[in-house]
């Protein structure tokens, strides 16, 4: 993978957009109106919600790629599943840290065992379980983890609708559509910038997995070549 390839250019361009976006998001958030009930702490919404979207996206990509691996034996699908599971853990952690920080000011407590928070924690633990299965699961680790990814994909919609189905302390899913236009625009822009960041991280992580696969193949080829016919 030499420098100067189109994929390198795209990666650098994406990284530049993501970095600029990350620098610009505070200004974007500062320009939004202050929510009258919660005040300044509501600003956490502009990065808590995009992180939650990326947790869901990572889970679905992981599950789709796992299906490709399970039913078609696609090694590329397996690599994509692993990388997206890692990103799911990363952004899930961001959700599980930023949410309680917001809750401490808004609700007076860091954590409540209500349906939304508990199901989100379970989803994150499933993705952590996926990574642990991949690392320590032995020869059948890939298939075992792929099955776990399907369970995680079933849990993700439950996390989303939990606030509408069960009585919870967490705001429901209509909070974005009911907010003022400036807030709506800001959260959508922030979500877009986070999506670019997610794409860049995924591309970077996939490179590492491809390089590891190439190394493995080369090592095998070397053993064959050095042993001779």
């Amino acid at each position: 993978m030499s420098a100067g390839r189109p994929s390198d250019f795209r990666l650098v361009a994406g990284a530049a957009v993501a970095a600029l976006g990350f620098l610009g998001i505070p200004f974007l958030i500062a320009a939004t109106p202050i929510e009258p009930v919660m005040g300044i702490v509501q600003k956490i919404f502009y990065f808590h919600v995009p992180c939650a979207y990326l947790l869901f996206l990572s889970t679905f990509v992981c599950a789709g790629a796992s299906i490709a691996y399970l039913f078609k034996g696609s090694e590329g699908g397996d690599r994509l599943a692993l990388c997206s599971a890692e990103l799911g853990v990363l952004f899930g952690l961001c959700v599980l840290v930023t949410g309680p920080l917001w809750a401490r000011v808004a609700w007076g407590v860091y954590w409540q065992w209500d349906a939304r928070l508990t199901s989100a924690l379970l989803l994150w633990l499933m993705l952590v379980g996926y990574l642990l299965a991949r690392r320590y699961g032995g020869p059948a680790a890939k298939r075992l983890a792929a099955g776990l990814a399907l369970f995680a994909a079933v849990d993700a919609p439950l996390v989303y609708v939990s606030v509408n189905v069960w009585r919870t302390i967490h705001p429901n899913t209509s909070v974005i559509t009911q907010s003022v236009p400036e807030m709506k625009l800001a959260v959508r822009l922030a979500a877009l910038l986070f999506l670019v960041l997610w794409g860049v991280l995924l591309a970077l992580r996939l490179r590492l997995e491809r390089a590891r696969a190439a190394l493995g193949e080369l090592e095998l080829a070397c053993e064959d070549a050095l042993e001779g016919p």
């Binding site: 956490i44 992180c51 930023t98 390089a211 190394l215 070549a225």
Partner: protein, 90 residues
């Protein structure tokens, strides 16, 4: 029923009749934020944003280090193969 019992009955009836009226007549005083002290929200907002920055940065460093290590191993393997004078197929 003697006079004392009648008096008790009347008092009880009055209490039962007046209790809802007393309850309805109560005025609730609105208390803003009575239990928890007001927390300054800025450290929480900055902490949340800072955590995301830090988490992404740590992840990028982790991936970049892994990539550098694997590429180093690939290069050393290719060098070794070239030195041996045999080209692998991969």
């Amino acid at each position: 029923m003697n006079h004392k019992h009648r008096l008790h009955s009347v008092v009880c009836a009055l209490v039962v009749a007046l209790a809802p009226a007393l309850a309805l007549g109560q005025q609730y005083e609105k208390i803003d934020d009575p239990i928890r002290p007001r927390l300054s929200p800025s450290p929480f907002v900055l902490g949340a944003y800072g955590f995301i920055w830090a988490a992404v940065l740590v992840y990028v460093v982790f991936v970049a280090k892994g990539l550098a290590r694997v590429r180093g191993e690939l290069d050393s393997l290719r060098t070794k193969v070239d030195r041996e004078g045999k080209k692998p197929t991969a």
